[in-house]
C-alpha cells in the first residue's frame, strides 16, 4: 500500500529494537476478550484508478450545471469561485497543517485567519469575529448560548423567518438547557412581526435573520431597538453573506452578536458542507465568544507576529467551564473566505452583490408577468418566494422535466406556504437561462 512505507526488513529491524517477536506482541495490553476475531467486513481495497472510476460514477449521479439549472439557495448558494482560490487553498502548507498551537511555525495560517477575522468583522460591521465556527446554524446557536451567558436570562425569541434548519439546530443545542425558545411570526410582507416582542420579559436575545429565509431584508435597526428596549441583545443571523456587499451591515444596525453562514464566500456547496460559521460580536462580549481567536503578538526581538489568544475561554484550558466545546473549527473555509473577499475587494463585492439582486429581481418580475404570484412585498436580495394560482407545484414538476430545479418547496417547513417555492438567482444565471425558466412557466 503506497501510504504505508514499511518494508519487511524495516519491520523486522524495528521489532528487533523493541525486543518483541511480532507486531501482534505490541497489542499485548489488549485483553483477549477485547480483540476482534476475524477481519473487518469491508469492501476490498481499490487501486487509485478503480477509485477514480467509482467516484466518477457516484459524482455523475447528482444534478449539477450545465446539465441542470438549479435555482436553489436556502442556505447554500451557487457563486463563482475563482480558480486562483482553489489553487491557493490547495497549497499543502495550508491544507495539511494542524491548528496553529505552535505559532512560530504556522504564521501563514495565523496571519491568514487574522485577516479573515478582520474582513469578516468589516463585512458585518462588528468589532471582532472568531477564527470560524462550523456553519451558520451552529454559529447562531452559539451566539444565543452566549447571549444567555451574558444576560443571565432564560428566554430567547427567534423569528420564524430564520432558516428552519437553523432554528432546529438552536433547539438541539438548547434542549438540555432551561432556556425557553419563543418564535415570532411573520407579517404579510414577509418580515418578522416584531410587535410580538412587546410585553415579553426576561428576554436574553432576539434572533433575526436578514436577508431572511424568504429572501426579504429585515429591519434590523427596528429589531435592535426593540431588543435593547427589552434589555435583550440583538443576535443577527444570515445565510447569504454576499448580501452584505450591498446591505447595511448588522453591526451598523445595532446587532450585538452575529452568527451566520459564510459559504457564499468562495466555498463550494459540496452537498451542504463543510461551510463556514461566521461568529462576530461587539468588543465588550469578546471574552464570552466561543472558539479560537487569532491576535497580534510580538516576538523576542519585537517583531510582529500572530498567535492564538484568549485561550482561557476554550475547552483545552478550561474544560467544562469553557465558553464552548468547539475544538476543530472550519479554518480552511475561513481562509477560503478571506481569499475570496480579497479577490473581490470592496469594489468588487458591491458590484457582485448588486448583480445578484438585479438578476433575482429580473426573474421575480418576469415570473410575476408570467402570472405567478410573489406573496411577500418586502424587498429581497437574491432569493424570493413565488407561488401561482393553484400553487407552483405543477410548474415545478414541469420544469424539473426540463432539467430546471425551480426552487425549494416551502410547505414542509411552513404549512401555510404549501405550494410556495423559494427561488434563488445568483450571478451564475444568465438572462437566457432565466428567460428559459419563464418560458417553461408559461408553457
Amino acid at each position: 500500500m503506497r501510504y504505508l512505507p514499511h518494508t519487511d526488513e524495516d519491520i523486522a529491524a524495528m521489532l528487533g529494537v523493541i525486543g518483541v517477536e511480532g507486531i501482534a506482541d505490541l497489542f499485548g495490553s489488549i485483553p483477549a476478550d477485547c480483540r476482534l476475531q476475524g477481519e473487518l467486513r469491508l469492501p476490498t481495497a481499490l487501486s487509485e484508478w478503480e477509485l477514480d472510476d467509482h467516484m466518477d460514477r457516484l459524482a455523475g449521479m447528482t444534478a449539477v450545471s450545465p446539465d441542470y439549472k438549479v435555482y436553489l439557495g436556502a442556505g447554500s448558494y451557487d457563486h463563482r469561485i475563482p480558480a486562483a482560490v482553489t489553487h491557493l487553498l490547495g497549497r499543502s502548507e495550508f491544507l495539511t497543517s494542524y491548528t496553529p498551537y505552535q505559532p512560530e511555525m504556522l504564521q501563514g495560517t495565523l496571519q491568514g485567519i487574522y485577516e479573515y477575522q478582520t474582513l469578516a468583522a468589516r463585512l458585518l460591521g462588528m468589532d471582532v469575529a472568531t477564527a470560524s465556527h462550523y456553519d451558520g446554524a451552529t454559529a447562531l446557536a452559539e451566539a444565543l448560548l452566549m447571549a444567555v451567558r451574558i444576560t443571565k436570562r432564560k428566554r430567547v425569541a427567534l423569528s420564524r423567518t430564520i432558516h428552519p434548519h437553523y432554528r432546529q439546530v438552536v433547539r438541539t443545542y438548547f434542549a438540555p438547557t432551561e432556556v425557553e425558545l419563543l418564535e415570532l411570526p411573520f407579517l404579510e410582507t414577509g418580515l418578522t412581526d416584531l410587535s410580538r416582542l412587546e410585553g415579553l420579559d426576561g428576554l436574553a436575545a432576539l434572533a433575526v435573520q436578514s436577508p431572511n429565509f424568504f429572501g426579504c431584508i429585515e429591519d434590523l435597526r427596528e429589531a435592535g431597538k426593540k431588543a435593547h428596549a427589552a434589555g435583550a441583545l440583538l443576535a443577527a443571523t444570515f445565510s447569504e453573506a454576499l448580501a452584505y456587499g450591498l446591505l447595511r451591515s448588522p453591526g451598523s444596525q445595532g446587532a450585538d452578536i452575529v452568527g451566520g453562514e459564510g459559504q457564499s464566500l468562495g466555498i463550494p456547496r459540496s452537498f451542504g458542507g463543510p461551510a463556514l460559521g461566521i461568529l462576530a460580536s461587539r468588543k465588550e462580549y469578546l471574552r464570552s465568544l466561543p472558539g479560537r481567536l487569532v491576535g497580534r503578538a510580538k516576538d523576542r526581538d519585537g517583531k510582529e507576529g500572530f498567535v492564538l489568544t484568549l485561550a482561557t475561554r476554550e475547552q483545552h484550558i478550561r474544560r467544562e467551564k469553557a465558553t464552548s466545546n468547539i475544538c476543530s473549527n472550519n479554518s480552511l473555509c475561513a481562509l477560503a473566505a478571506a481569499m475570496y473577499m480579497a479577490f473581490l475587494g470592496g469594489t468588487g463585492i458591491r458590484e457582485l452583490a448588486s448583480l445578484n439582486r438585479d438578476k433575482a429581481e429580473y426573474l421575480k418580475n418576469a415570473l410575476r408577468e408570467a402570472g405567478c404570484t410573489i406573496p411577500f412585498a418586502a424587498p429581497t436580495f437574491n432569493e424570493f418566494v413565488v407561488s401561482a394560482p393553484g400553487g407552483f407545484d405543477a410548474i415545478h414538476r414541469r420544469l424539473l422535466e426540463k432539467r430546471i430545479v425551480a426552487g425549494l418547496p416551502l410547505g414542509s417547513h411552513y404549512p401555510e406556504l404549501a405550494g410556495h417555492y423559494l427561488l434563488c438567482v445568483t450571478e451564475t444565471a444568465g438572462r437566457a437561462d432565466l428567460d428559459a425558466l419563464v418560458k417553461g412557466v408559461r408553457s
Binding site: 525486543g19 481495497a45 491544507l95 496553529p100 450591498l246 452537498f271 451542504g272 516576538d299 466545546n325 470592496g346
Partner: protein, 485 residues
C-alpha cells in the same frame, strides 16, 4: 548529504492584506451584466464593506508567501499526539473536487442526488463495521460536535427512561472537549483518576458510578497511548447502574480491525475522520465527527438520516425521538468524500495494517527515545507515547523549550502539556505513514537537543531561531488582545 533537516532559507515578508492594494483594482472576474439595474431602497444599502481592492497577482502572491511560513504534513513529520497527523492522500482531494460532489446543492431532490446519498450510506456502513456498532450519523462537524451529539443521545436516553441524571464520569486523561461537551448538556463531569499504570481501575469506577451518573466518557486507547484494559468491567459496572458508555474514538487509529469498540462495551462512539481517516486538518478544520451507536440508541440519532428503500436513497427527518439537527445540512460532506476514498483505498487489510504500523512506529520511538527523555509510563504503548521534561528540570529546561528547539531542527513539535496527568508532557504520535528512517532522524534530533540542553541551555531557551519569528509573547498578546486590523 546527510545533514540536519532544518536550515535557513530565503522567505518573503508580506504585509497585511489591507496594507496592499489600491481602490478600484479587482482580482475577480465580474460576470457580464445582462439584466437591468434594480436598485434596493437607499435606506437598506450601505457603502459596501471596507475591503482592500487587489489585483489577482497581488492576492496570489500574498497567500503564496503566507503559505511558505507554514509547516504541513507534506513538509515533514508532524508528531502531534492525539492528532493523528498521517499523510493526506492527494487522490482524496481529486475526489472531493469532482463537480458532481463539490457543486451539489444540499436541497437537491433525492432522485437528483443519489450519488451523494449512496456515498454517505456506504460510509455509514463502513464506519459502523469499524466501530462494531449498528447505526451511524455522519452529521457532526468535528470530534467535539460528535461528543455533543453523543451527550445529547445520552441525555435523551435518560429522559426517555423517565429520569435525568446530573453527573458523568470523565477520566483525568480525557481531552478537554469531553468535559466541555458534557457540560453543554448540563452534566457535571466527575473526574476519574487514572491509576499508576495510566489507566482507569475498575474499582475507581465502581466507587464513583451511581444512580445520578449518566455514564462515562472514555477514550480508548487513552491519551497516554494506553489501552484501557478494564474497559469491559468498567462498562459492565456503568451499564449495571443504568449508565451508558461513551467512547471518544479520536484514537481509533491504534485499533482498526483489531478492536471493535462496540464489542467491548461502548454504546456510543465518535470517530474523527480528520485523524484516523486521513482527511487533512486544514490548519484547524474542517473536520468531521461521525457518531456510531448501538441499535437501541439509533432512534435518538440526529436528523436527517439517509434511508434506503428499494435501492433509492433519501434523507428523512421523521424520527420522533431524534435529538434533532446539528448542522444546517447533512454534515461535512466534502470531508466524508475524503474519508470514504481513504477507506476504499485501504480496504480492510490496509486499515488493519495501518493500525499495526502506527503502533509499531510508536513503540519504536518509545524504545529509542526513552534513552533520551523521561518516559512517563514505562510500558509498551499503542499509537502514541508520552514523555516529560523531568530530567531537564535540573538545567531549568522545560518542555516548551524542547518543543521550540525542535522547530529549528525542522520538526513540528509534539503535543505538549497534555495530557494533564503528566507534568510537562511531551506526547508523540508518529502515525503509520512515517518511515523508520524518519523516526531515527527524529530521535537523533531529540538526542542533540537534550545534549544542547546540558551544554548550552540558552540554545533551547532562545529557540526557535530559524522560523520567521522568534518566540512569541502569548501572555502579552492575551493581555491586550488585538484581533482585527
Amino acid at each position: 548529504m546527510s545533514k540536519a533537516l532544518g536550515t535557513s532559507g530565503l522567505i518573503l515578508n508580506e504585509p497585511l492584506l489591507w496594507e496592499r492594494g489600491r481602490k478600484g483594482r479587482c482580482g475577480f472576474s465580474l460576470p457580464e451584466r445582462d439584466v437591468p439595474e434594480s436598485p434596493l431602497p437607499a435606506e437598506l444599502t450601505g457603502d459596501g464593506p471596507p475591503f482592500p481592492d487587489l489585483s489577482e497577482v497581488e492576492v496570489v502572491r500574498h497567500y503564496t508567501r503566507l503559505s511558505t511560513w507554514n509547516y504541513g504534513v507534506d513538509t515533514g513529520l508532524y508528531p502531534l499526539g492525539s492528532c493523528t497527523m498521517k499523510y493526506n492522500p492527494k487522490t482524496n482531494e481529486r475526489q472531493a473536487a469532482l463537480k458532481g460532489f463539490a457543486a451539489a446543492h444540499p436541497f437537491l431532490p433525492p432522485e437528483l442526488s443519489q450519488g451523494a446519498l449512496r456515498l454517505m450510506t456506504g460510509l455509514e456502513r463502513d464506519l459502523a463495521e469499524i466501530a462494531g456498532l449498528d447505526a451511524v450519523t455522519l452529521q457532526p462537524a468535528a470530534g467535539a460536535q460528535g461528543e455533543l451529539a453523543g451527550m445529547l443521545i445520552l441525555h435523551a436516553y435518560h429522559r426517555s427512561r423517565g429520569r435525568q441524571r446530573r453527573k458523568i464520569l470523565v477520566p483525568d486523561t480525557a481531552h478537554g472537549t469531553n468535559p466541555a461537551s458534557a457540560a453543554l448538556c448540563g452534566y457535571a463531569p466527575v473526574p476519574v483518576p487514572s491509576d499508576g499504570r495510566g489507566i482507569i481501575a475498575t474499582e475507581t469506577v465502581g466507587a464513583l458510578m451511581d444512580e445520578d451518573t449518566a455514564g462515562i466518557m472514555i477514550t480508548n486507547p487513552n491519551t497516554l497511548g494506553l489501552f484501557e484494559e478494564n474497559i469491559r468491567e468498567v462498562a459492565r459496572i456503568v451499564h449495571e447502574r443504568g449508565g451508558l458508555v461513551y467512547g471518544d474514538g479520536a484514537n481509533m487509529n491504534a485499533v482498526m480491525g483489531i478492536v471493535k469498540p462496540g464489542a467491548i462495551g461502548i454504546d456510543i462512539l465518535h470517530l474523527n475522520l480528520h485523524k484516523t481517516f486521513s482527511s487533512p486538518h486544514g490548519g484547524g478544520g474542517p473536520g468531521s465527527g461521525p457518531v456510531a451507536v448501538r441499535k437501541e440508541l439509533a432512534r435518538f440519532l440526529p436528523v436527517p438520516r439517509v434511508v434506503e428503500t428499494d435501492g433509492m436513497y433519501q434523507l428523512r427527518e421523521d424520527f420522533p425521538d431524534t435529538i434533532g439537527r446539528l448542522l444546517a445540512f447533512h454534515g461535512h460532506f466534502g470531508v466524508l468524500v475524503r474519508a470514504y476514498s481513504y477507506i476504499r483505498s485501504m480496504g480492510p487489510d490496509g486499515l488493519k495494517q495501518a493500525s499495526r504500523l502506527a503502533v509499531l512506529n510508536a513503540n519504536y520511538l518509545l524504545e529509542k527515545l526513552k534513552e533520551v527523555l523521561h518516559l512517563a509510563y514505562d510500558r509498551p504503548c499503542m499509537h502514541e507515547c508520552v514523555f516529560s521534561d523531568r530530567d531537564q528540570q535540573a538545567e531549568g529546561i522545560t518542555t516548551l523549550d524542547v518543543a521550540k528547539r525542535l522547530m529549528d531542527y525542522g520538526y513540528h513539535p509534539p503535543t505538549i502539556y497534555f495530557p494533564l496527568v503528566v507534568r510537562g508532557a511531551i506526547m508523540i504520535e508518529p502515525t503509520e505513514t512515517e518511515t523508520k528512517e524518519e523516526l531515527d532522524r527524529f530521535v537523533e534530533a531529540f538526542r542533540a537537543i537534550v545534549r544542547e540542553g546540558k551544554e548550552n541551555p540558552e540554545l533551547l531557551r532562545e529557540a526557535p531561531v530559524r522560523c520567521k519569528v522568534r518566540r512569541l509573547d502569548e501572555t502579552a498578546a492575551a493581555r491586550n488582545p488585538c484581533l482585527t486590523g
